[in-house]
Amino acid sequence: MPRNALAVTAMRWWLGLIVSCCALFAAAPATAADAPKAPPGDAVADYWREVRQGVPGLSQVPGAERGVMINARGETWRQQRNGPLKRYGGMVLLAMLGIIVLFYLVKGPMKLSEPPTGRKIQRFTPFERFVHWGTAITFILMGLTGLAILFGRTVLGPLIGTDGLGGLLALGKLVHNYLGPLFLAFTILLIFAFVRDNVWQKCDGEWIAKAGGMFSSGAHVPSGRFNFGEKTWFWLGVTFLGLFVAGTGLLLNFPALIDRTRDLMQNLVLLHAIGAVLLLALSFGHIYMGTVGVEGALDSMKTGEVDETWAREHHALWYEDVKAGRSGRP
């Protein structure tokens, strides 16, 4: 045992001497060339890289993601939103408007080819009209406020300035956030109200083959209560895009009630905006056809009734069905 103790003491002396020498060498000015090498695996570089990639640490400050030092995707999101989203989104909307204006100038509104009979038949029930206009009004408010949030700074900013934009959008954000859930509720009601009229019918094939009679003058393709164009709007616009946009909007809503990560919010904002731009573009077509594009279309949703001539020309199969005493629904 004493021998072991002695050996240990000796080793301590030796170690001390080695360490002192190292310290001397380290302190010598000539060691500039012997710059310290990075430790194996470079743990330090690794963890700063992790910080940069958004790996969370710890913070005593309470709140969501307070321990995340760097929000890794923030700048990318900025580039995506301010770049492609605004550029292509704006182009899609303007292109759609342009196509509709061009179509109006070339083809003009679709007028009845025969004089109205004066005999009215019911096309929409009061419930259907209530649901339609509820969806339409909330949709238009959501669309206008949403467009102002995405494009307001570019389009209105130079005209009304930061304070004007702030006042307008403070109201706009309230409208958008609080009417959003109502729009979702109306959309769901609308789907239930019209889903059984929008199933596939044999006449839809003919409608597709003739492209809805868009390029032939005067000749109407016979259709049921709704033609294939209307059915496309129902499934693609109202059902798919409507639920998608309203759903992502609901997930974005009420920020202080539910803590969501910034990554999730970034993705939701982008998806919500892409869906909304596509829905708006499709809605331009629907709004055009429902107002100036087709004579008598707006009246049908305003009063719920259409003239028999209108019914026979636009929805021949539905008209025959109703005249035969059936519901006219597929």
Binding site: A26, V44, Y47, V55, V61, E75, D163, G166, F254, P255
Partner: protein, 200 residues
């Protein structure tokens, strides 16, 4: 003009959170909002490091770029400030900010975001310097009084530096020379360097 910058020295920050407290007190920041926070990476590990983080007053600020109402502006001193009267509390600045600086008080019945609040580099807002309105919305305007941000002024280890970018980098350069580290503004490799740091 000066170009104001923060710099936090990871070799010195001891995670005392005094900068957080000082800021909150100096500006009487709303409930639930902290303009500054200390983040500790690898807590309890040999590689533990802490840094104090707030708005870093970016030259090309992402918050400003995504703001739907364009309420941000950069002062002559390079400080990024915002106009709370125009802010609509949409949260986009928080989604875009690399540092998580923008914070929102909860406001309204359905968890609506209130007007954004963030570090002002103790430079207030668009209102008249140190007016009651400015003080209520943005806190004290120390820059207008010829003082630097309080978080850095009272940092006990002088880990957090604030001021003109040239002076801040001069101070940090001296530290780098004294440490003998030839690498990295963080100076972080020193403690793992078998020949340096006086550890033998």
């Amino acid at each position: 003009m000066a170009r104001m910058k923060f710099l936090c020295d990871a070799e010195r920050c001891i995670e005392c959170n005094a900068c957080v407290t000082a800021c909150k007190n100096e500006h009487e920041v709303q409930w639930g909002v902290n303009r500054r926070r200390v983040v500790t990476i690898n807590d309890g590990e040999p590689t533990e490091k802490s840094l104090s983080v707030a708005c870093m007053h970016c030259t090309d600020a992402p918050c400003s770029a995504v703001c739907p109402v364009d309420c941000f502006y950069t002062t002559e001193d390079g400080v990024v400030l915002h106009n709370k009267d125009a802010c609509i509390g949409c949260g986009y600045c928080l989604f875009a900010c690399p540092f998580g600086a923008p914070q929102f008080p909860q406001d309204g019945a359905f968890g609506e975001r209130g007007k954004m609040d963030k570090c002002t580099f103790c430079a207030g807002g668009p209102e008249e310097d140190n007016s009651p309105a400015e003080r209520a919305k943005y806190g004290r305007n120390r820059l207008a009084e010829g003082k630097l941000p309080l978080c850095a002024e009272m940092c006990s280890t002088k880990a957090l530096l604030a001021g003109d970018a040239n002076e801040v980098s001069d101070i940090f350069r001296e530290r780098v020379v004294a440490r003998g580290s030839n690498r990295g503004a963080w100076g972080q490799n020193l403690q793992f360097n078998p020949l340096g740091g006086g550890k033998g």
